[in-house]
Amino acid sequence: MIRHRNAVALAFAAVLGLTGGEASAQTPWYDLPAVKALYEKAKEEKEVVIWAPVQNEVDWIQPALSKRFPGITVKGTGDLQAATKLIAEARANRHSVDVWQNSLGGMIEVQKRGLFAKVDWQPYGVTPGNILFDGEGIAVHNFVYSALYSKAFVKDADVPKSWDDLLDPKWRGKMVAQDFLFPRLMGFLAVKWGEERTEKWGRAMINDQKLLITNAPRESFLKTGERILSIGDSISQSYQYTESGVPTGYTIFNIVPAVQFMVSVMKNAPHPNAARLLAIWQSSDESMEAREKATYGLSVRPGSKSHVAAEVEKAKATVVLEDLATMDQRADFYKKFSSIIRGQ
């Protein structure tokens, strides 16, 4: 029931997003009276604690935030299993986290327990289309699924053009994927392709193409040439791999699945004003730009100014954004495809 109601709210908010952003475009968001007042209160709180799945996603915030809002110390922690801790802390009535950032799907269980503060973000200039869970969260960046390739071993002319191209025998024994990401990729594809076709594709990838499913870093396989395509990694990771000494390219196929990351302010945040300020700032263009520079995290949501969003538009590809409307359906797909992939 909650999920269904949220899906309607999300759809409504998305429609509003087409017009709402335009309305407040004249006054920069940081000059809005509500934001200025919030900053004054946030400065009194001195610090803000943010949790995200990995440390890398919070380390960049302090220097970037300080340029706009000096005087607030950001304490960031990366933890993939933060949901358990947030629920346990709330139960014990001890609260250490102000803002939590995760994928939309990863936040559902905490949201269902009513642990997020519901905020009216409109006075702060947040684009209505980016407001999720009826004010309990704000959309930030995306994890954009792709097929990455080693530039050392794959010529530009040979780069596959579609997900189906990966079934070409020439890629047999040359592809790798992560056990967590690949079933999710299939879940997104199944939304477009249907379950039967996707399952057939997935089985062909594993049985015929000898796709190597691993938990180890894929860049090591791309570097040595043990495998030359990494299926289901994100576009951001292609930049990270390149930075680590593995020149890696990415593909934009006709279907572009994208996980939606968001930030939420905790209901009993120790620093509620600083938490709100941080959440608002994270949804701004300047924050998105800083994030992309620091972590290669980018957005392909409608209205995004990232270069990948432009490339997707140019390729006339269809973005399949993670949303609440297909949440349950994808969850069922994940479970089914995971057991195929894990051989259980």
Binding site: V54, G78, T84, I87, A88, T214, E219, F221, Q240, A331
Partner: protein, 593 residues
């Protein structure tokens, strides 16, 4: 009412036994009993929380609620989901048995040979060899696994490339690390230092007079090992055998990185996937249900152990008579022995060490002369300029060191209590301490989180919480100390007591010095485990209590390979001098080379 009449002799024997027992208790004194009580209470406090959490979590559901949440109920659904699954019996269980048997065998054969060479022969550079053997224990498991992939990956593995070029074979293979054999090899070699440490302390504590007698009687070194060393060392062999079996059952890095690509599922990977589910919250209930056989296996192995060593006096080799060490001259076996150590060192230490250091300086770049010009120290400079690194380093030393001291201290108290007192409930301590090994770290972390969240003592989120949370692993210390104590005849303590020494003086001046090799081994092992541990500190982390292992894991997850490898290298550099120093300390104390 009928009256039972005992024979006069039996009554007299019972009186004498009771009197002796009472006398022994009196000897211990209030200080001794206080220490025993304190140690026992601490052991129960550290272990019972995680143990109760494991047992209750397995029976709490439904899956979309955490086991401690309102609305969670008692259920058999977790057990049903795990144990009514056909694939458990057709796939997971057979794989687990093969993997465990195979890797423990590999581990034991290599570790025993190495321990014997280092402790019982005139192998050159033994102190350096000792440190090299322990190296794999310092290297993160994921690095060890990646090293094996570099060597034996079917397409580009270095060894495969060499074999193919030598024998002009096809484009792939012939060896494949992603197989059961690969898993066994990687896990077997990875666990060698752990078993080596336990075996070498047992060999070190052993009086070699029996071996000398065998040698004098004309037996060959191998006959002496088979007929004298192995039988006498039985407790010292069984303990690491049992511990290695349980650790292999629980360890998930090798099965996940090397076994999973070949679709080889074992119990530990099943737990991993339950804790990292496709959707929703971690399935703690099912993970606990999967882990229950570890406990059952632990209980069974403990019973076997207690049965085999029931005649404790058979294993006493350290008596009132002093002993001088004897080393077998290797003679013509010297070169093969050195070659054996070198091959192990190559695969267990040199190559993983090279991969770690190389990755910290060159990322994933291939090792060629051209690459050398791209060397970058950015991974290290970033670390050294990051205050979080120094905080994490300080925290890691505190947590690993303090928890190792606590567990080793409690371990020796428990071992002495179990072996030297007649306390009726001492078997409970033995049992509980041993079972700590069957508790997955994630369950221990969860238990600590809930415990310290609810206790109003203000340590939640602090370094002290980590110290206490790490301190549940009593099995290693207790087993190790107990095996060593079994080799020490009680007559030494009795002699001290007759000479007028108080209990505490006897323990301090007689028992502890004789147990030093085992205590040092226990400390080293726990210290290294503490340095490597990342599951518990991940669950309990806060901005103030971060440790190096978590920092390395986070850098790794974020794709910062050089920084992750730099942290790994720093961990090795921090720990090696401590191992080396402690080893020197033991040698200096013994006056041995």
């Amino acid at each position: 009412m009928s009256q039972i009449t005992l024979p006069t002799g039996a009554v007299a024997r019972a009186r004498i036994k009771k009197a002796n027992s009472a006398e022994k208790r009196a000897d211990i004194g209030w200080l001794g009993w206080s220490i025993i009580a304190l140690g026992s209470a601490a052991a129960l406090f550290f272990i019972l929380g995680p143990l109760i959490m494991l047992l209750t979590t397995a029976f709490r559901g439904p899956q979309d609620l955490l086991p401690f949440e309102d609305g969670a109920q008692w259920t058999l659904a977790n057990l049903a989901a795990v144990y009514l699954d056909k694939s458990l019996y057709t796939n997971v269980l057979p794989n687990t048995l093969i993997f465990t048997f195979g890797s423990v065998t590999v581990t034991f054969v290599i570790a025993f040979i190495l321990a014997w060479l280092v402790e019982r022969t005139d192998l050159p550079m033994r102190n350096g060899v000792y440190t090299i053997i322990l190296f794999p224990l310092l290297v993160p498991g994921i690095v060890l696994s990646i090293t094996w992939i570099f060597l034996l990956a079917p397409n580009t593995g270095w060894i495969n490339v060499i074999i193919r070029s030598l024998f002009r074979l096809g484009e792939t293979g012939p060896l494949n690390i992603f197989s059961m054999g690969g898993m066994i090899l990687a896990q077997g070699i990875g666990l060698v230092p752990f078993v080596f440490l336990l075996l070498s302390s047992a060999l070190r504590s052993m009086n070699p007079s029996l071996e000398e007698a065998s040698n004098t009687a004309g037996a060959s070194p191998f006959t002496t090992i088979r007929k004298v060393t192995l039988p006498v060392l039985l407790p010292g062999l069984l303990a690491p055998l049992i511990l290695a079996t349980l650790i292999t059952l629980e360890q998930f890095e090798t099965p996940l990185v090397i076994g999973f690509p070949a679709r080889i599922n074992v119990f530990s990977t099943r737990i991993f996937f339950e804790l990292n589910p496709d959707t929703d919250l971690p399935a703690y209930g099912r993970a606990a249900a999967v882990a229950l056989p570890f406990l059952i296996c632990g209980i069974a192995l403990l019973m076997v152990y207690n049965h085999l060593i029931r005649r404790a006096e058979s294993f006493v080799t350290v008596t009132g008579k002093g002993f001088r060490p004897m080393r077998f001259p290797l003679g013509r076996w010297r070169i093969p022995a050195i070659a054996f150590v070198a091959v192990y060192a190559l695969f267990g230490a040199v190559l993983p060490g090279f991969v770690l250091i190389w990755a910290s300086l060159f990322g994933y770049a291939l090792p060629t002369f051209d690459t050398l010009s791209t060397i970058s120290f950015a991974g290290y400079t970033d670390l050294f300029n990051n205050p979080k690194f120094w905080l994490a380093a300080r925290n890691t030393f505190i947590v690993a060191g303090a928890s190792a001291i606590i567990v080793t201290s409690i371990g020796v108290i428990l071992a002495w209590t179990i072996l030297r007192t007649q306390l009726a409930m001492r078997w409970v301590l033995d049992f509980i301490s041993f079972l700590s090994l069957g508790i997955p770290a994630v369950i221990a972390g969860l238990a600590s989180m809930l415990l310290y969240l609810s206790l109003p003592i203000g340590i939640y989120g602090t370094v002290l919480m980590l110290v206490l949370a790490y301190s549940y692993r009593m099995a290693v210390s207790t087993r190790l100390t107990r095996a060593a104590l079994m080799q020490v005849h009680a007559e030494l303590e009795e002699a001290s007591s007759v000479a007028g020494a108080q209990w505490f003086t006897t323990i301090r001046r007689v028992v502890l010095p004789l147990l030093t090799p085992s205590l040092v081994a226990s400390f080293i092992l726990l210290f290294i485990i503490g340095f490597r541990e990342f599951t518990i500190p991940t669950i309990l982390q806060s901005p103030d209590n971060s440790v190096l292992s978590v920092m390395m894991w986070q850098a790794f997850q974020a794709g910062k390979t050089t920084q992750a490898a730099a942290v790994g290298t720093m961990i090795v550099l921090f720990v090696i001098p401590i191992i080396f120093g402690l080893r020197r300390l033991v040698l200096a104390r013994d006056g041995r080379d």
